[in-house]
């Protein structure tokens, strides 16, 4: 039995009938076709699937698509506005906060919520707040620098 799901992702409305067991991440990747959100594990450890759902950073592998019925979501594809990178995206580019790029969408969206909560985070706060996101390439050094860069530049814009 399929169930109806209505969502708004990156400002666009979607309406589908889905199997109740369909994970939100697979809904985003396969049903909607936004492949920037990644699947890196099956135990909610890696955070590669992190998106913003109703403003909260959530691991989209840990929700069913039907739980997102009525939700407004932002995926990595929706973060840049009018062709202008979000400061967090820019920070990852400026500070070499990525290598293979696979964890990056999740890292950026986790950082998005982090900087809403802590606009001026310490290094310790950044590292602690990234507890739910794994990166195997960077050793986290430049991810921390990227988020610091974003924090400084977002503060400058306010």
């Amino acid at each position: 039995m399929k169930l109806p799901v209505k969502t708004t992702i990156n400002g666009q409305a979607h309406s589908h009938e889905v199997e109740p067991r369909l994970l939100l991440v697979h809904y985003i990747r396969e049903t909607v076709g936004l492949t920037g959100t990644h699947v890196g594990c099956d135990t909610s450890q890696c955070g590669a699937c992190t998106i913003l759902m109703n403003g909260q950073a959530v691991k989209s592998c840990t929700l069913f698509a039907v739980q997102a019925d009525g939700a407004t979501m932002t995926t990595i594809e929706g973060l840049a506005k009018n062709g202008e990178l979000h400061p967090i995206q820019q920070g990852f580019w400026e500070k070499h906060g990525l290598q293979c790029g696979f964890c990056t969408p999740g890292m950026i969206l986790a950082a998005h919520q982090m900087l809403e909560r802590y606009p001026n985070p310490s290094e310790e706060q950044i590292r602690h707040q990234l507890e739910g996101n794994l990166c195997r390439c960077t050793g986290y050094h430049n991810i921390v620098k990227a988020i610091q860069w974003a924090a400084e530049n977002m503060a400058g814009k306010k």
Binding site: T43, I76, H96, N133, R136, C137, G139, Y140
Partner: protein, 783 residues
Amino acid sequence: MAATVERVLGKSIKRREDPRFITGKGTYVDDVKLPGTTYAVFVRSPHAHAKIKKIDTAAALKHPGVVAVFTGADMTGVNSLPCGWLLPELKVPPHMPLASDAARYVGDPVAVVIAETQDAAQDAADTVSVTWDVQPAVSATDQATVGSSPQIHAVAPSNVAFKWQIGDAAAVNAAFQGATVVKKRIVNQRLVANPMEPRACLARFDEATGDLTLWVTSQNPHVHRLLMAAFVLGIPEHKVRVIAPDVGGGFGSKIFLYNEETICSWATRKVKRPVKWTSTRREAFQTDAHGRDHVTEAEMGFSREGKIIGLRVKTIANLGAYLSTFAPAVPTYLYATLLNGVYEMPAIHADVTGVFTNTVPVDAYRGAGRPEAAYLLERMVEAGASALKMDVAELRRKNLIPKFANGYQTKVALNYDSGNYEATLDKLLAFMDYRKARADQAAARQQGRLVGIGLSTYIEACSIAPSKVVGSLGAQAGLYESGKVRVHPTGGVTVYTGSHSHGQGHETTFSQLVADELGIPMEQVEIVHGDTGAIPFGMGTYGSRSGSVGGTALLMSLRKIKEKGKKIAAHLLEASPDDMEYANGQFQVKGAPGKAVPFGQVALTAYVPHNYPEGLEPGLEETSFYDPSNFCFPFGAHACVVEVDRDTGHVKVLRYIAVDDVGNVMNPMIVDGMVHGGIAQGVGQALWEGAVYDGGQLVTGSMMDYALPKADMLPSYETDRTVTPTPVNPLGVKGAGETGTIAATPTVVNAVIDALAPLGIDHIETMPLSPERVWNAMQRAKR
């Protein structure tokens, strides 16, 4: 006269590949969607060792949405997955893509279900019923050869795959007479590479043309194509195209030819529809080749003055249940030949036994053999310093090979390219303020705190590799690299490289190289990699080889382009080609920059050859294959400061300092990034990571159980460099991808042991130095 073009090689240019990754527009294998795709789910052995009595697929075949179910019996005419490195008398057991006689590790695939959807395939796979005859299993490295252990392969009595040795046993025996000899048992535990992107493949057979296209998470698409098409499936190579698009990390684990892509490539020809498989993380733990897994007895002899006089090593290397693609090379030529380290070592002997066990096959993981060598050496050097009551930095310095610029012959086959080992050690000690660090440590100890300082040096053999040399040692492949440069009529340049980027940033560094050599803007350069349909035959990326081997191949082509361009320009200027030079993006008469033809005009002329040198072929495109004359040998010295919690055994890394010498650097930002990531993986091995088997079951089979380093477990790293260019290649670059991983593990372990020294602890046999292991060591020391 053209303006002087700014040099870009050696600069920290921001990466050109990043915009697609930070906006979610990368294309990884699982992102590739084809109409009509079917989905493969594998039925895997839940047992470490079991004979297969019967596989009943009837229920699965009836399941809605199922397209096909295959077992090993269906795969007639398909050969064993090959081993690409053959040692003398190596036992090579068959490794069929789907096991049909017996399963030999948990995860060994025995059937594949192909269905319209992933869910249907998974549901149907759950209904495949296998009748198992469970056999005794052995997983522990040091238990594989004991008499009571079950034999895993008919061809390998006592589970011995090979016995191999190097060095001079008699010289070591002689050297040890009257020396201070320290002896340690050292376990280098099994690791799981865990690139963030799980392996995946998508195979499509085109009935109309008979062509097979395979998208696969590969570090070396041509190696995949050659091994799979020619050796396993018996399909002509020219009918197979392998594409490795954006790949989310590899660390060695995506070098090898695996069962899954082979089966999907076979199955797409049967079902005549695309077949896709994407590994779950749990499958990745159970099937991606693991790394390390050595048990070693080591002895190092010292003179009274603290000079190393000999090293004796006896290692058992666990190869897992089958020989993975390059498995035999890792614990032999990539390990024991590095046991000379950066030290003057009069006598070395190493004896290695490779063994089969009922575990995931083991192969190269970042560093591959070289971390095992460095770990062993650096633990033994510390043990010597402890026995002789010498400072660990001083003992190391006393033994370093003096500076050399062109060749140092070791006792274990290798000829180092260039080295200045004392310079890195000196720079490290100054950078970290070693004396102050020791004073701070003494003060902390006064307060009862367990603070430790760890040092290590390392050397790596990379820029893999001279084909003749590796061929004589058992490699079944050449290890050159290719680079093709195509100049377009309008002056743009497309580069086709045999190297493959899965995080290394080749699109940036290779563009820098082209822009620098041709004096044109980087925006005019495009880098193509990872597609056998586009690039010349190439060997791919591993062993820190892309800059040195792939980069040199590219440089050779660029120089050929310039040579041809000179002829065209000379013709246009009515000058002699010998009088031409290339500078600032133009061909000019030597010493007369006013008499010049810009690069773009030469390009156009090459394709519109109306006014053109007699006898010269039109076009401006060159291909080169570079086979290095030797390995390159990066080196360095690392240090860290840790504190151990007396109550819990928890280790906190307070500082991590690295001084590396990777030769010339093409992009410092990218090199630093690789050093950082390597350090994190090395620290991970020292403190947290470890694949654990219990009764043949992989108990660390998910990210919940296998502790990957997280951001808050690591400090920011303090890094610096010395630069000793290699004479081996014209770029002077050595290789930077693995240095951190090699150095960090001994550095951290040495620091922890140093922290625990006041408790009388001088060694912990097995990593990771988890809180439990450290706490237990402390409890034992109290007694």
